[in-house]
Assembly symmetry: C2
Homo-oligomer: 334 residues x 2
Amino acid sequence: MKMKDLGEFGFIDRIAPLCKINSGDVIRGIGDDCSVVSLSPDLYLLVTTDLLIERVHFLVDWQSAHTLGGKALAVNLSDIAACGGIPRDAFVSIAVPDRLNVDWLEDFYRGMADLADKFKVNILGGDTTRSLTDLVINVVVTGFSNPKETLFRNEAQPEDIIAVSGPLGNSAAGLELLLNPRPIPDTIASPLIYAHISPRPHLTEGRTLAKSHACNAAIDISDGLSSDLGHVCKQSGVGAIIFEEKLPLSEPLIKLARELTVDPLDWVLNGGEDYVLLASIRPDQLTDVMRAAASDGWELIEIGKFVSTPGIKLVRASGETTAIVPRGWDHFKY
Amino acid sequence: MKMKDLGEFGFIDRIAPLCKINSGDVIRGIGDDCSVVSLSPDLYLLVTTDLLIERVHFLVDWQSAHTLGGKALAVNLSDIAACGGIPRDAFVSIAVPDRLNVDWLEDFYRGMADLADKFKVNILGGDTTRSLTDLVINVVVTGFSNPKETLFRNEAQPEDIIAVSGPLGNSAAGLELLLNPRPIPDTIASPLIYAHISPRPHLTEGRTLAKSHACNAAIDISDGLSSDLGHVCKQSGVGAIIFEEKLPLSEPLIKLARELTVDPLDWVLNGGEDYVLLASIRPDQLTDVMRAAASDGWELIEIGKFVSTPGIKLVRASGETTAIVPRGWDHFKY
């Protein structure tokens, strides 16, 4: 069987039973944003890792080395954010083709270090080696969380409110402009491209949600809303209804869709790489959490609710209801 | 400047100052076998990572997927061993080209899981993605150590005995046979090739050394004796003398060198990937440590001593003394 027939998530289901050996203190293994291990009654260790491959995940020409370094770290910090954790240390493995020189690589590290500095994260080690073709970047981030304030994917409850911590679809629209450049005004193109090449990890947002004790589940939107909401639904044994009218679309996204005469809904539902958080909030505490978010400087946006019937439904602006099939990014299937 | 002019270790020296940001509990960052972070007065967290790239570090045809999976984990466990630690969890990122199918990948994971099982290590997560060309494997292992029993590279003392936990050069000789196949009897070729494709992490050996409280420094021999001993010397501010007659050469290695009419010394000094431990032992406790090793089922082999004068010297069997220039593996320089 080929990986493209099974897909990343099918493969993970297949190998997961092999992998848990000494499971005493393991709270979460393969299949959540982070693995979670209990170090003491008061402390969980979180570990997350992301592998980025040139020509599969990015092109070198799309951004400066500095920006790419920042993104390689940011996508891992986003996983820590989704667990409500505090990041601690990063470990960077990089395989470098001969065409990239020392200055490029130093700028890449500087980009990582600048973002690391914002969140008081160390870059403690890793491995630097040569690549014959593509640039390869693997970043691991460790973090800590309080067991009583750790967020998982699989505890969403029916009637919980589905909310997100920022706009959706910007990154996908930015990617579209990188892949197919068009003469679009800078005021539209720049913020979308920036959203793709320089995502901000929602660590503050994750901490607000974790501290609220009103968030039953969370995930970061890396594969796409339909796919990541699908993970939460599948792992929690629930379904979801989302409302098109409530989906947060940015002005540049709406304007780009108008310029290209396309429906932005595909970017919003299936685009991926927005790195905002999706949260499952107890309905009676929604206003409290919204107030806490505002007090921490961000906006929690309600987009739907979890239900006991499986499947994801979208209520269109027209009132029509359609079923959503998770089809966010799977590198093996595209 | 090109990476081949600076080399991996030159590059690490250049970026290290950028990387330590929140250094309160950081015991070791970039530049030791593992990074070491203090979690409590009784507990250090160890993290190590290794990136393996097809055609740079290995060819797929050299071994089964099962063996390659085992080696990818073993090289990281070896770093934990060098710190005297106990490994805990592994995280595997893999980028898979289309030519490798699901069965291959499952066999790879099974190879990792079989080795993980021996040392009660979980495989808790990672990232699986697609590669357009080479297979890419990044493994991270976390472990724990007792602060009073943690081994570093940089605390070797003049007059300490240099000892190793197993034979040297087998892996390099095996690699030579993989790169340039020759009609060599199986009894010679097999153990050498096996040493290269299926190294055993010296975790038991590391624990014996750590518990002895007589080992001032340790490193695993991954880049080669000259290079790894060079790291210990440089970081400890000492020099070393090693004795050719004391270097542990296996029977198959000696026989292969005879068959090929070459001096095996180059494999032994510069070959790399033996994954035995090199230890700096207090001279008055050497016999105690040797006894402890024997009682734990392995042999500690004295090969030389540290001295206060910088540089590494080799006393040849002839009595002649020559200077050794560290020239183990640097992927950027070869």
